[in-house]
C-alpha cells in the first residue's frame, strides 16, 4: 500500500505529521507535507489511515499497490 499527497491541496496543517511522524514530515519552506515513506509497512496502516482521515484539506490518499 502506498500513500500519496496532492500538494496543491495541502495547506500545511501538519496533522499528518503529528499523527504519524514515521511516514509524514513537513518541509522547511512552506510547511507542506513530505511523505518520507510512501510504501509504508503494514504495521503502520492504522496510523496512516488516521492521518489521512484527519487531513482537513483532504490532501492525502491511500492507493492500493499501483505505482502512481
Amino acid at each position: 500500500m502506498k500513500v500519496v499527497a496532492n500538494s496543491s491541496l495541502c495547506q500545511g496543517h501538519a496533522r499528518c505529521e503529528d499523527l504519524c511522524p514515521e511516514v509524514f514530515a513537513t518541509d522547511a519552506i512552506e510547511g507542506k507535507v513530505v511523505i518520507e515513506k510512501p510504501d509504508f509497512p503494514a504495521e503502520l496502516e492504522e496510523k496512516v489511515r488516521l492521518a489521512v482521515r484527519n487531513c482537513p484539506e483532504g490532501a492525502l490518499r491511500i492507493a492500493k499497490g499501483v505505482a502512481l
Binding site: 500545511g12 496543517h13 496533522r15 499523527l19 518541509d27 522547511a28 519552506i29 512552506e30 510547511g31 482537513p56
Partner: protein, 405 residues
C-alpha cells in the same frame, strides 16, 4: 421560532432568512460567549441567515458552507472585511488580500512558522513559561488572564521580533486597547499608535538587522531585488501583532477554565506529559471545542450560494465554533473526547488563508500546559471570585479567570 423580524434589511434578503442577532451581545446570564452561537442552532435559525445588526451581515451555520467560505476566495474575499465596517481599515498582509497577491507575503512569512521553525523556538517558550509560572506559583492563586494568558503571547511576540522585554507593558497596553475598546476615537488613536510602534521597530531593524522575524521581513527583497513597500511591511507587522495575541490568550483561558473544573482532564494531560502524540491528540480536541474566533469574509460579486442570493460587498461571518460542533461531521459534537480519533476542526481555518501561526499557537499552549502541570498539578476556580465578564465579537473570551491551588 421566536426570532424578531427586522424590516430594515436590504431588499435582496427574503424575510424568512432574517434573524435579529448581535454577535457582540452576550447577555449577563450567559456564562460562556460561545453559547450565543449554539443557541442560534438550537433555536433552529436558518443555516444561512442575515442579521441587520452591526452594519448587516450573513452568518453561515453549516460546516461545509463555512469551509466553502474559507476555500472559495473568488467569491468570499478577505479584503476589507471588518464587521461592523471600519474605514479606513489597515490591509493586513497577507491575511487581508486574496491569492495570487496573497502568496507574496505568505511565501515570505511561511518559513518562519513551519513546524520545523516552531520546534526551534520551543526552548525559549519553555523558559519563558517556566519563569512566568514560577513567579506566582508560590502564592497559591492567580488571575489566569492578567497573570499569564495575556502576558505569554505578547512576550512571545516581543521575542520573535527581537524586542526587549522592558517593552512588554507598552505592548500589552496597545493590545488591550485594540481588542477591548469600542470607542471609535480611541480605536483610531490606538491604530495610529500601533503603526507608529511598528514603524519605529522596523526602522531600527532595517538599520541593525538581527536574526528575528522583524529583521527578516524588513530586509527581504522581491523578485526584482527591491525591498517591499514600507506600508506592506507595516501591514505584515500589524497582522502578526493582532493575530497572535488575543486568539492565544482567549484559547488558553478557555482551556484552563475547562481544566480547572474537570479533574479527569487534568489527570489525562498529566499522565501524558511525556507522550507527545497522545498529548497532541488531546490538545487538538481542546482546539476543536474551544474555537474562539469568528472570521469575516466579503462577497466579491452578486451570486447565488446554496440557493441564497448574495450581493457584492455583503459581509459574511464564519463561526468556527459552530462548524466544529456540526453533528453531520463530528460524532457527539458537544462532548469533549480527549481521545477523539477523527477531528477535522476548522479552528485555524482551511484553504489558502489557513492560520499561518497555528503551529506556534499550538506550541504556546502545549508548552504552557506542560510547564503549568509540572509546577501546579492541581488547581480549581476560586469560589468567591466574581466570574469576571465575558465578551463576544470576532474573538470571544473572558476578562478574568481566578484560579486557586
Amino acid at each position: 421560532m421566536t426570532f424578531q423580524w427586522q424590516p430594515s434589511s436590504p431588499d435582496h434578503v427574503p424575510a424568512d432568512l432574517i434573524v435579529d442577532f448581535d454577535f457582540f451581545d452576550v447577555p449577563a446570564e450567559v456564562t460562556d460567549p460561545v453559547q450565543i452561537w449554539h443557541d442560534l442552532v438550537r433555536r433552529g435559525a436558518p443555516p444561512i441567515f442575515y442579521t441587520p445588526r452591526n452594519g448587516g451581515h450573513w452568518v453561515f451555520l453549516k460546516y461545509h458552507d463555512i469551509v466553502e467560505g474559507y476555500r472559495n476566495h473568488e467569491v468570499f474575499s478577505t479584503y476589507q472585511t471588518p464587521i461592523p465596517p471600519i474605514e479606513p481599515f489597515p490591509v493586513m498582509q497577507p491575511q487581508g488580500v486574496d491569492p495570487p497577491q496573497h502568496d507574496v507575503f505568505r511565501k515570505l512569512l511561511a518559513p518562519m512558522f513551519t513546524p520545523l521553525a516552531v520546534r526551534r523556538m520551543t526552548e525559549g517558550l519553555q523558559h519563558r513559561a517556566h519563569v512566568l509560572i514560577s513567579s506566582f506559583a508560590g502564592s497559591g492563586k492567580c488571575d489566569f488572564v492578567a497573570d499569564y494568558a495575556s502576558i505569554f503571547p505578547t512576550g512571545t511576540f516581543l521575542e520573535l521580533f527581537g524586542m526587549p522585554e522592558e517593552r512588554l507593558p507598552e505592548f500589552l497596553e496597545l493590545a488591550h486597547t485594540f481588542f477591548r475598546s469600542t470607542d471609535a476615537e480611541v480605536r483610531a488613536a490606538n491604530l495610529r499608535d500601533i503603526y507608529a510602534v511598528l514603524d519605529g521597530m522596523f526602522r531600527a531593524k532595517r538599520d541593525y538587522p538581527g536574526s528575528d522575524i522583524a529583521s527578516t521581513i524588513v530586509t527581504a527583497l522581491d523578485e526584482q531585488g527591491r525591498p517591499y513597500p514600507w506600508q506592506d511591511i507595516l501591514n505584515c507587522g500589524f497582522l502578526l501583532f493582532v493575530a497572535g495575541l488575543d486568539t492565544v490568550t482567549n484559547t488558553m483561558t478557555y482551556v484552563w477554565r475547562y481544566l480547572a473544573t474537570t479533574p479527569a482532564a487534568r489527570a489525562h494531560f498529566r499522565e501524558r506529559l511525556d507522550d507527545p502524540s497522545a498529548f497532541l491528540v488531546a490538545i487538538e480536541e481542546l482546539m476543536r471545542i474551544n474555537a474562539v474566533s469568528n472570521l469575516f469574509r466579503r462577497v466579491t460579486h452578486d451570486c447565488d450560494f446554496r440557493g441564497v442570493h448574495l450581493r457584492r460587498n455583503d459581509r459574511v461571518i464564519l463561526p468556527n465554533t459552530v462548524a466544529n460542533r456540526d453533528p453531520s461531521v463530528f460524532e457527539n459534537p458537544q462532548s469533549i473526547d480527549l481521545d477523539r480519533k477523527v477531528n477535522n476542526h476548522v479552528t485555524f481555518g482551511v484553504g489558502p488563508h489557513r492560520c499561518m501561526g497555528s503551529h506556534l499557537a499550538k506550541r504556546e499552549i502545549v508548552v504552557s500546559l506542560q510547564e503549568w502541570l509540572r509546577v501546579i498539578p492541581e488547581f480549581e476556580l476560586a469560589p468567591e471570585a466574581e466570574a469576571g465578564s465575558s465578551f463576544g465579537g470576532s474573538v470571544m473570551g473572558f476578562t478574568s479567570l481566578k484560579l486557586l491551588w
